[in-house]
């Protein structure tokens, strides 16, 4: 018993230890859970315009995702930067996760950054909100920021200071720096108002230049071709760039190398002043909006053709101008030609010198008649930016001679038919009329054919004969019957005597002796005495042999007798 009691105590103690461990773990987890929270904080609540500040969202909850709030009133110039750390100090666990952003205000005023969310499987936690007061002229710069103030800046360069509406010009975006930089990025692209934009290709290459006696590095990072659509001054949001500028700290590291740090810097580039002049008034009626230095031409592939040849007419606008809005005027369809839908050709290049190239319509004309025809004159007006005036280009009439084909149409007022073409080719005329002595009428004789075919088919059906059953001649019948008898005797068929008898009897019937009248007298009248007896004997023996074969002679006798009789019967 004492041994058993000891054992029991040992087990109870062991269970107790496990229970304590479980309670400790549960308690720790509960305590840990109770500390869950999500906090939003910022580096400063009052900032100057274009001054950077940092917003951080932190939580001590494991798992889940931090969803930042919308920050539309600010430019995100850095981030999101994420970090998390776990600490165990004297058995106590601590965990922290952070997401932070580097922001720059867009405008003055009081702005609220809404709560961030911590979304987990169990629940969703909200952070506190932040209120930021943005004031102009309150930029606090630390010593490092002040130090790099002039070491990084941006400019927008324009190819023209004054343009007419519709006249293309180029904008070049350039960043300058005097100290090494990294993470150069566009925070905000300028948003030009009232212009058409075309992106130009650009080879981004860092270059060096001396400005005010200082070596400066620069990079052209964007290039656009703009075409103003309304008069005024070019406006829009400024360009904003961000970069990290390398700044020496003044300290040295273990290897006695100078230590550096990087300072975030956001700089703005103002949109240059470009005056967009309106086109002079009044505008000519034939002006369709083309602006630039342009040419307008019309070329014919040939001026003299045969009737079965075609002519190609090209109408082309070429030069430098607003090709993105120019439409080539259509050809006025000339008389005497079939005009096919034009083919459109275009080659336009966008470059620093503007928009250059051509637009072309290519028509195919096929002459209908012989004679001389006129391709009508064409007028086209554009605004010449070089002279500052409207310029009308007149394309004179072109004459085309069609060497062969029918003559051109004539008005035939007398016949009362207008717009008809008279065909009169003397050299190679159409043939003369045919005499209509007997006019052909459509006769539906197919019904007659069907009726006749039906009648013939019916007649075939009632013929009652099998094809191939031609009446046999006397000789053929005798030959056939002889073969039947010989075959029956050769094969020793049971009814061979009957067959022989029937064939002889049938033969007698065929020559006119009735079956009932077969007797010696009758046979003698037909064949003679000896032959009749021979035939009579053969018939009688056949009848006897049918009932008692072998008693009246052997088969050889029957065959010999049959062959003998068959010769004369």
């Amino acid at each position: 018993m004492p041994k058993k009691s000891k054992e029991r105590k040992r087990v109870v103690r062991k269970i107790g230890k496990y229970l304590i461990l479980v309670f400790v773990l549960i308690g720790t987890k509960t305590a840990y859970s109770q500390e869950n929270s999500l906090t939003a904080k910022c580096s400063r609540t009052t900032v100057g315009l274009k001054e950077q500040f940092r917003v951080t969202f932190s939580t001590d909850k494991r798992g889940g995702t931090i969803v930042p709030p919308g920050m539309d009133d600010f430019l995100i110039v850095g981030g999101p930067f994420q970090s998390q750390q776990t600490q165990i100090i004297n058995g106590s666990f601590s965990f922290q996760k952070e997401i932070s952003y580097q922001l720059v205000p867009k405008k003055e005023g009081n702005f609220t950054i809404g709560p961030a969310l911590m979304i987990s499987r169990k629940d969703t936690i909200r952070s506190n909100t932040l209120t930021i007061n943005v004031k102009a002229g309150t930029v606090r710069e630390n010593s490092l920021s002040a130090e790099v103030k002039d070491d990084f800046y941006t400019r927008i360069l324009t190819s023209k200071k004054e343009v007419y509406v519709g006249e293309p010009f180029v904008m070049l975006f350039r960043a300058y720096w005097t100290k090494p930089i990294r993470n150069l990025g566009i925070v905000q692209s300028p948003n030009f108002e009232g212009v058409l934009q075309n992106q130009l290709s650009l080879e981004q290459q860092e270059k060096r230049e001396i400005i005010n006696g200082k070596p400066v590095r620069y990079l052209d990072f964007d290039k656009k071709l703009l075409t103003a659509t309304q008069p005024g001054t070019l406006q829009g949001e400024d360009l904003q760039l961000s970069a990290q500028i390398q700044v020496p700290t003044g300290r040295r590291d273990f290897f006695n190398m100078p230590e550096v740090t990087y300072v975030n810097q956001v700089v703005s580039g103002e949109i240059p002043q470009v005056i967009i002049k309106p086109l002079p008034s009044p505008k000519p009626s034939s002006f369709s909006g083309a602006v630039g230095e342009l040419t307008f031409t019309r070329t014919l592939s040939r001026h003299s053709v045969n009737g079965d040849e075609s002519i190609s007419v090209k109408i082309k606008i070429a030069g430098s101008g607003n090709f993105n809005t120019i439409a080539v005027p259509e050809l006025i369809p000339p008389e005497g030609f079939d005009v096919y839908d034009p083919k459109f050709n275009e080659k336009v290049t966008y470059s620093s010198s503007g928009v250059k190239g051509y637009k072309e319509l290519e028509y195919l004309l096929v002459p209908k008649f012989k004679g001389e025809f006129i391709i009508p004159e064409m007028r086209w007006t554009y605004f010449n930016t070089k002279t500052g005036t409207y310029q009308e280009i007149v394309l004179e009439e072109d004459k085309v001679e069609v060497l062969s084909g029918p003559n051109a149409p004539l008005e035939s007022g007398e016949t009362g038919i207008s717009n008809k073409r008279e065909v009169n080719d003397i050299d190679n005329d159409i043939r003369y009329l045919h005499a209509n002595d007997e006019l052909h009428s459509r006769k539906d004789w197919q019904g007659l054919v069907i009726i006749l075919v039906s009648i013939v088919a019916l007649l075939w059906l009632i013929q009652g004969v099998k094809l191939g059953s031609k009446p046999m001649s006397n000789h053929q019948i005798k030959k056939r019957d002889k073969a039947i008898v010989i075959k029956a005797f050769e094969q020793q068929t049971k009814d061979r005597y009957g067959i022989l008898f029937n064939i002889l009897e049938g033969r007698l019937v065929a020559i006119g002796i009735d079956k009932e009248q077969i007797s010696l007298n009758t046979l003698e009248k037909q064949f003679g005495k000896a032959e009749s007896r021979q035939l009579q004997q053969l018939l009688e023996r056949c009848q006897m042999a049918e009932y008692a074969p072998g008693t009246v002679g052997d088969d050889r006798w029957f065959i010999e007798e049959f062959k003998s009789v068959w010769e004369w019967i």
Binding site: V366, V423, L439, H440, W445, L448, V449, W460
Partner: protein, 233 residues
């Protein structure tokens, strides 16, 4: 006025250059004789004189269809085609149509029909005699005449003019992707161009050009070389 006088009057009008009046007379006659090759030829001539090359081609084609041996119609057709300088490939005849045209070149369809009827009648007589009057007639004779009649019936059927060719009668005709003018234009054919009719649908023809291109065209701008059944008397 009898038919002969009417035809003569049309010829007089034509000779005096009154092509439109001659055309009217010929077309009146043609309402009762739409399959007459010479009449179609004369109508084609009138249209050619009036410069209506699309209609002229249609009637010359029709004349050549009914009478492929009509050398004048073929000449005038060639004359028209020289003036219709469209680059469209001409539709080709099917083998059966070509054989039919060749047979019509030898003899008119009616002639083939006459031969067929002759042999059928002979077959019927032979079979009747063999059945009721003279059984000794060898069956091979009616069989031969019957077979011949069937062969000529086939020739007659092949020689019946058949054509699914249509001709542009308007100045030009646009080909559309669908049987509606709101669909995409994919072709433009000028007057006198020919194509083969594949199917029709509510005022639209689905046509195949000689080069295999297909498109929908407005039926009103086209004419059948073979007069449609509905227009026949």
């Amino acid at each position: 006025m009898d038919l002969k006088s009417t035809v003569d009057s049309a010829q007089v009008l034509y000779d005096t250059g009154q092509y439109a009046e001659a055309l009217k007379v010929y077309e009146d006659i043609a309402t009762n004789h739409p399959t007459d090759a010479d009449l179609a030829y004369n109508i084609g001539n009138c249209y050619a004189r009036l410069g209506e090359l699309g209609e002229a081609r249609l009637y010359f084609e029709r004349s050549a269809l009914f009478d492929p041996s009509n050398a004048d119609a073929l000449h005038n057709l060639e004359w028209i085609n020289l003036r219709l300088s469209d680059a469209v490939v001409e539709p080709t005849m099917t083998l059966l149509q070509w054989i039919g045209a060749s047979l019509r070149g030898i003899a008119f369809s009616e002639s083939w029909l006459g031969i067929t009827v002759f042999f059928l009648v002979v077959s019927a007589i032979l079979l009747t005699f063999r059945r009721w009057r003279t059984p000794k007639i060898n069956w091979r004779w009616p069989l031969t005449t019957t077979m011949l009649s069937l062969v000529f019936a086939g020739i007659f059927w092949i020689s019946i003019p058949k054509s699914d060719t249509v001709i542009v009668l308007a100045k030009s005709s646009y080909g559309y992707s669908e049987p509606t003018s709101d669909s995409k234009r994919i072709l433009l054919l000028s007057e006198g161009s020919a194509a083969r009719l594949r199917k029709s649908s509510e005022g639209w023809f689905f046509l195949e050009l000689g080069d295999g291109r297909l498109a929908w065209f407005e039926a009103a701008q086209w004419g059948h070389v073979l007069p449609p059944e509905s227009t026949l008397p």
